[in-house]
Amino acid sequence: MDLTQRTVGAALFAKGVSRRGFMKFCATTASLMALPPTLIPTIAEALEKARRPSVIWLPFQECTGCTESLTRSNTPTLESLVFDAISLDYHETLQAAAGHAAEEARETAMQANWGNYLLAVDGSIPLGNPGYSTIGGVSNVDLLKKVAAGAKAIVAIGTCASFGGLPQARPNPTGAVGVSELIKDKPVINISGCPPIPSAITGVLAQYLVFGQLPEMDALGRPKAFYGQTIHDRCYRRPFYERGQFAETFDDEGAKRGWCLFKLGCKGPVTYNACATVKWNLGTGFPIEAGHGCIGCSEPRFWDAGGFYEPLSTTRWGSWQTVGAAAAAGAAIGAAAALAARARRSGAATETKP
């Protein structure tokens, strides 16, 4: 793939030729070369071979933490994605053009890559009123539907885009929903997390772009490569859970010795994510390693599932675990402990109801 040679296709698209126009060009080429019309798709493919796949990123009710996380990745890096693997044709945080020029760049890329671009979304979409969130005077719902129409697949980045996230937390003032509640006719990959681990974002993108296929996903649409195991099943403190050695408070002997944080509210047993294996920021660490329990940020409605410092056994997490989540796995001891905890929970009161 010699990117120093500008492809014919690239040159035409850069000049604003539409996809239909490009196919017409290929048909003309075929006839000029006295080649049968059946070869037109092959010609088109060959002309396009050096093109990097187009990615259009739409930000809705987001905090931009997912974009920040993207920039923290080193496997692959943002730079190598943007220079070598993809053409990031619309990203409001990073792109040079603004206003109408930015919108035109998006339109041009959409037309040139219709049916083939990847749509990335961060932030939830408000349904309560179109004026709650607009870009260029256009409501999020309208923009999402318009851009999704030409996408090959959609990647919902972060818990907000995947499941509604923080804006959706009780009482959901703006009627926020995740992407897959609105888009039903295209494949949607949910890379959840608040934000997702940096290399989960780039790793999933790389898997899709390099191997050309959708990753295997769990029942919530999350790629199994990153969301196939619970934090609990991969946590380095698991032996202490098994032995019943828990930190009772944040500064005590157990905390200092790295004992299990279950009693301090850790939601690791019911959270599917790769924090305990891939870890954060060049593999440096993750919340449990820094002494704070997991808050469950890659799960739907984790904001409303109970206090972050209330032990799992006293919260409503047990019911969430059965709703569409991947099958319970893990050691028999762990499973039995979780069951026993749920049984103990029957007397505990939590008033957090949606």
Binding site: I86, A96, L166, F250, R257, N281, L282, A290, I295, T352
Partner: protein, 575 residues
């Protein structure tokens, strides 16, 4: 506005955080009036009602992922203020280190990845001579990555991207605009540093990971920090992890000293005319930061608190956030209602607001600027509009006689050969951001040394558990958490009743700066700063972008909904 003469619109304003729309009335090619509009709302303060105060920091922190940490800290301080929770010394130092690290990371990224493309012509870099670029780079800094070969590599990479015809984030921009003044070699050097900064920021973010588990959105804890200290444990803050923190501080300081500061001075030298526009208000506010003792000991803050009115550095005004006559929020041109009418200004503790989108039905071409036009409110101090942020802080430090600040400001003015009035401008704001980054990065060394000394003296406490249980809390408590965030003064106001949050309000730096006109028609900082800008080509609004970006907008932060007081239900009206 008339149908024949619509206002210029920039929406989306890119290379910011969040959703900002700017509309400007032009007289000829000069901006006569400007209107700043936040176009997205979530209602996080409503969402916080009914929650456990010990959880609030996690919710609040997601107000923004670019200024990650800042709302978490402000939230935690508000709870600790309300409940009277004192912090162990080590916890205060660790928080200060995390705050400082956020400043350094955030400001460097802003300069290169958000602001630079307003001043640096990427396509022009392709015409540069790599050897001459190396000479330039080595003449301004000892930074090691400066060989001709390195710049040739960078140039090749950019050329391949441009030649592919798929320019991605560089597509359809303003390359070749006459407002770009840098020689090609300076452009190539800046592009190389843009890439270096991306690599650097990944590494220095690890400070947050060590103390808080992850970045973005590290973990915090009311009453302390979650990471315990134990030199003899493999799973606490030990010599290895603390050593890594020391390395990161060195890495931060050397990039700031060898790349960020020299680049700022070099680039500013070509844009001195931007020292003559973009000021806006001349009023500046800080809430203060880096408490040496407890957060409430305001005389122990490294960055002091105060207000400067009309550039008067000789008379610093005192600020009391509890005083109902000082900070007030107005909604005259915001999509909210007050039961006492839209002309009212309310102290955040007396807040009483309802979402009311009364703007044009999307899709729309123009805002109705005579009515409400923004999801941002208009905070005012004693009725004055204020600028917050790096320029406010540098001026405050200067006014209070901070030696390093005076030295750095003097050096900068001398090197650029501009008068002191040049500080009050777009260029001044950019330079202030750079200078305070150096001041704060340098201060990290002292904080770190203090932490090590404390541990060496035998103090390893990181958490005060005495008020952890709700049973130890009073039935009703109010608190204010301040935090001088990279973009400016941030305050969270909390009311806790019977163990739950009943009222939560955030007055955020970008609300001060980006808010719309108040009930007296006084513009906010962005709106005032843009007046008088001459646009070489209204279709390529570089001049607007340069000044807006100098404020480092963070609009997710700026938009908020104030909870009604006394258990009133929020009314959601559809226009």
């Amino acid at each position: 506005m008339t149908a024949e003469n619509p206002r210029l619109v920039v929406d989306p304003v890119t290379r910011i955080e969040g959703h900002l729309r700017v509309e400007a009335t032009l007289e000829g090619s000069t901006i006569a009036e400007a209107y700043s509009s936040g176009t997205m709302v979530r209602g996080i303060e409503i969402i916080l009602r009914g929650r456990d105060p010990r959880d609030a920091w996690a919710f609040a922190q997601r107000i923004c992922g670019v200024c990650t940490l800042v709302h978490g800290i402000a939230s935690i301080r508000s709870v600790e203020d309300a409940l009277g929770i004192g912090l162990p010394n080590n916890a205060q130092i660790i928080r200060n280190l995390m705050i400082a690290a956020q400043y350094v990371h955030d400001h460097v990224m802003h300069f290169y990845h958000l602001h630079a493309l307003d001043w640096v012509d990427v396509v022009s870099a392709l015409k540069a001579d790599p050897a001459a670029t190396s000479t330039l780079a080595q003449s301004i800094s000892p930074y090691a990555r400066s060989s001709p070969g390195h710049f040739a590599d960078v140039q090749r990479r950019v050329k391949a991207l441009v030649d592919s015809g798929q320019l991605g984030i560089f597509a359809n921009a303003y390359w070749g605009h006459p407002a770009y003044k840098l020689p090609s070699e300076a452009n190539l050097m800046a592009v190389a540093h843009y890439l270096d900064a991306l690599e650097w920021q990944r590494q220095v973010a690890q400070l947050h990971t060590i103390f808080g588990g992850k970045n973005p959105h590290p973990m915090f804890l009311v009453g302390g920090v979650p990471c315990p200290i134990d030199l003899n444990s493999d799973s606490a803050l030990n010599a290895k992890r603390l050593g890594q923190v020391g390395d990161i501080i060195r890495q931060m300081r050397s990039f700031v000293d060898e790349v960020y500061v020299p680049d700022t001075l070099a680039i500013a030298g070509f844009y001195k005319d931007w020292g003559g526009q973009g000021e806006g208000l001349g009023n500046f506010m800080t809430c203060g930061e880096f408490p040496a003792g407890q957060a409430g000991e305001l005389d122990q803050l490294m960055i002091p608190r105060g207000v400067i009115l009309n550039r008067n550095l000789a008379e610093i005004q005192e600020v009391d956030f509890k005083d109902p006559d000082q900070v007030q929020e107005f909604v005259a041109h915001s999509y909210y209602d007050y039961s006492g009418g839209k002309a009212q200004g309310l102290h955040p503790w007396a807040g009483e607001t309802a979402l009311n989108y009364s703007g044009p039905k999307p899709p729309y071409e123009q805002l109705d600027v005579e009515q409400s036009y923004s999801w941002l409110k208009s905070p005012r101090w004693r009725g004055h509009a204020m600028e917050v942020g790096p320029l406010a802080r540098v001026l405050m430090l200067y006014a209070k006689g901070h030696a390093q600040t005076r030295e750095l400001v003097g050096m900068t003015l001398k090197k650029l050969d501009v008068p002191v009035t040049a500080l009050y401008s777009t260029l001044g704001r950019v330079a202030a951001r750079t200078l305070e980054t150096k001041i704060i990065a340098d201060a990290m060394q002292g904080m770190y040394d203090n932490l090590l000394a404390s541990i060496k003296a035998g103090d390893t406490r990181t958490f005060n558990e005495t008020r952890w249980e709700p049973s130890t809390w009073p039935a009703r408590a109010r608190g204010i958490g301040y935090m001088e965030a990279p973009r400016g003064a941030l305050t969270h106001f909390i009311v806790i009743e019977h163990g739950k949050i009943t009222n939560y309000q955030a007055v955020v730096p970008s609300t001060w700066n980006a808010g719309p006109r108040d009930s007296k028609g006084q513009p906010g900082a962005y709106e005032a700063a843009l007046v008088g800008h001459k646009l070489a080509d209204p279709k390529q609004p570089i001049e607007i972008l340069r000044t807006i970006h100098s404020f480092d907008p963070c609009i997710a932060c700026a938009v908020h909904v104030v909870d009604p007081d006394q258990g009133e239900l929020v009314q959601v009206k559809v226009a």
